[in-house]
């Protein structure tokens, strides 16, 4: 019995020693991956004015006065290309940027292998497969209110607010569509050119992007004409395409 106690004690201490060892190992600076953060900076119009919820803005083209109460959109499937042409593909890469949720404008991609990256690819919206694959989790959970209940598919951009120019006093644009000519999902690429993205072990590198919500109405009518859109179609396609087209790479912080 006494021997049993001793051996049990030995096992316990051995376990605690080995777990200590493991902790030591974790802190050694030999990590082979780093983190990349995509930082989505929202700027209104070509003048790059501040863009915040509950802030009165004037659209540079339609001249509509607008106060946003909701601004949400999906970014997905982020990939980085190394100088040797190989890609790092971020698994389960779905992000919901929600201006009402602080920090959601920073898309954190951990476990990126260290090295020099020349290009980045990302998708605006949610790929068609996830629109038809049943109940999802995380950013894609239906509880985020970014999924149409009556006509399955993700609302890929949601912009809501108030405006004196709208007949109803408010506006609500739910843009989506993943099929045929209504497909708004847009794959975008960034070439870092001479300024490649360096991922260092245990460090975070930042890729800064600019997003201009005013682009939604770049070639679309004033809120006086259309203040609400709740389904896929040509108008949604135009608005999403204009908005996505205005998203641009700005600079890298390492």
């Amino acid at each position: 019995m006494k021997n049993l106690f001793i051996s049990a004690a030995l096992v316990v201490s051995a376990l605690s020693v080995s777990s200590c060892k493991k902790d030591d190992k974790d802190t050694t600076p030999t990590e082979t991956t780093g983190t990349v953060e995509l930082n989505m900076a929202h700027r209104w119009g070509m003048g790059a004015d501040n863009f915040l919820l509950n802030m009165e803005l004037v659209h540079p083209m339609t001249q509509d006065t607008m106060t946003f109460t909701t601004f949400k959109y999906y970014v997905s499937n982020i990939k980085f290309k190394k100088a040797d042409g190989s890609w790092y593909v971020h698994p389960e890469s779905y992000f919901l940027v929600d201006l009402a949720t602080a920090g959601s404008e920073i898309l954190s991609i951990p476990n990126v292998p260290t090295g020099e990256y020349t290009d980045m690819e990302y998708t605006m919206g949610v790929d068609s497969l996830r629109n038809v694959s049943g109940a999802q989790s995380g950013a894609l959970a239906v509880a985020n209110n970014m999924f149409w209940s009556w006509n399955s598919g993700y609302i890929m951009v949601k912009a809501e607010g108030t405006s004196p120019n709208s007949g109803s006093g408010s506006f609500a644009f739910h843009l989506g569509g993943f099929m045929g000519s209504n497909n708004v999902v847009t794959v975008k690429t960034v070439n870092f050119a001479g300024n490649s993205l360096t991922v260092t072990g245990g460090h975070t590198s930042e890729v800064h992007m600019t997003v201009n919500p005013a682009k939604l109405w770049h070639s679309s009518a004033s809120l006086a004409t259309t203040s609400s859109l709740m389904m896929p179609g040509a108008t949604a396609k135009t608005m999403a395409t204009d908005f996505y087209g205005g998203i641009a790479f700005d600079h890298i912080h390492e």
Binding site: N131, V132, S133, G134, A135, Q136, S137, A141, W150, G233
Partner: protein, 365 residues
């Protein structure tokens, strides 16, 4: 417990035990008790075992199902969770409306007697609550086919202001506040944290198991029974006039058609609402006719309460319009006898085993 009571009573009736004459008597009693307990035990065990064997099994005369439990591996606990949720009004805003309220098993999981179902605060729905069966074979859901997956289906009635009028966030919060449900979610999905994904997947497990394949019609198709001459005649009429849309054996092609109810669709564009194609205006899901004798009222707006009215419509009530199903022409001009035979045949689609399937009914608490 029943067994021990039996032992007590036999002991009272048969003492002393070791008398030779009583030995055989007691032997018989013991055998009887063993047999009874074996029977009781097997009954109890059979519920689970039979289920496991049953699991999802494609009826031999059915085509391959559309839903194959991808990323939602079937387990009894998940099914059981889905079953409890289906019958629990906790899914609605004020805990008054469960799925089962508008989908009654006794009526093929349709809402009987009302053309439009009532939601929270007695709000009136816009379309008739359809019968539910063989959902694993549906490529999409609702009268307009707007929902593309059995797992995302329940999101619609839960959040529709005319139905359960609840938010997913609220439902998840209510379930997370319930020790009972946390335990059930843990058993089903390994973690007691309730999420909308697990909720939807559990409901899908239950819904996909709603299999109606044991009607007289099925037994006829499988060669297990014969039809009366009226049933046989009705089947032939059905094959000639109905089966091109109500495809056998599921009795639906799961397509959409304008069956000549109206010529003005502004009230409800139907499939056109989803596809935004004017050629789809006025088209609605071709419903399955399984258990049709009990799923009244009929049509997307529940305008017909009897099968006679339905057959009168197909006989000489077809309203012409640009999207009308060409196969309907100007109607089939059924004779009274033909209508009778068709109804006799339609009655063979009633599946008593489905309507009384204990696995699909509300669990006694």
């Amino acid at each position: 417990m029943v067994v021990s009571l039996l032992i007590t009573s036999t002991n009272n009736n048969h003492s002393p035990l070791f008398d030779r004459g009583d030995f055989f008597q007691n032997m018989r009693t013991i055998l009887f008790i063993v047999a009874i307990s074996a029977f009781l035990f097997s009954c109890k065990k059979a519920e689970i075992e039979n289920y496991k064997e049953w699991g999802f099994e494609k009826p031999s005369h059915f085509p391959e199902p559309h839903y194959k439990f991808e990323n939602n591996t079937q387990t009894y606990d998940r099914f059981d969770l889905g079953r409890e949720l289906f019958y629990d009004p906790i899914l609605s805003l004020d805990s008054t409306i469960s799925c089962a309220k508008c989908h009654a098993q006794t009526h093929g999981f349709a809402d009987h007697n009302v053309n439009f179902s009532l939601g929270v605060n007695n709000t009136v729905g816009k379309r008739n609550s359809p019968a539910l069966s063989n959902l694993a074979w549906y490529p999409n859901f609702m009268w307009d086919g707007g929902i593309n997956h059995i797992e995302t289906f329940s999101f619609a009635p839960i959040t529709n202001p005319l139905e359960m009028h609840e938010t997913m966030t609220n439902v998840v919060a209510k379930l997370n506040a319930s020790a009972h449900y946390k335990e059930k979610f843990k058993k089903a999905y390994g973690s007691e944290t309730v999420t909308d994904q697990k909720l939807l997947k559990a409901l899908a497990q239950f819904m996909a198991m709603m299999i109606s394949a044991e009607s007289k019609y099925d037994n006829y198709v499988l060669g297990k029974t014969t039809f009366t001459s009226a049933e046989e005649n009705g089947l032939q009429l059905f094959k000639t006039h109905c089966a091109s849309c109500h495809t056998e054996p599921l009795t639906s092609s799961f397509g959409f058609a304008n069956n000549g109810l109206d010529s003005d669709f502004t009230n409800d564009l139907g499939r056109g609402l989803v596809t935004q194609d004017p050629n789809d205006n006025g088209k609605f899901r071709i419903p399955s006719l399984r258990n049709v004798a009990l799923t009244y009222p009929y049509m997307h707006d529940g305008r017909f309460f009897t099968l006679n009215q339905v057959l009168d419509h197909y006989s000489n009530g077809i309203v012409q319009s640009s999207t009308l199903a060409t196969s309907l022409g100007t109607g089939f001009n059924f004779t009274t006898q033909e209508k009778q035979d068709l109804i006799t045949f339609l009655n063979t689609l009633t599946d008593q085993n489905y309507l009384a399937n204990p696995f699909l009914s509300e669990k006694k608490k």
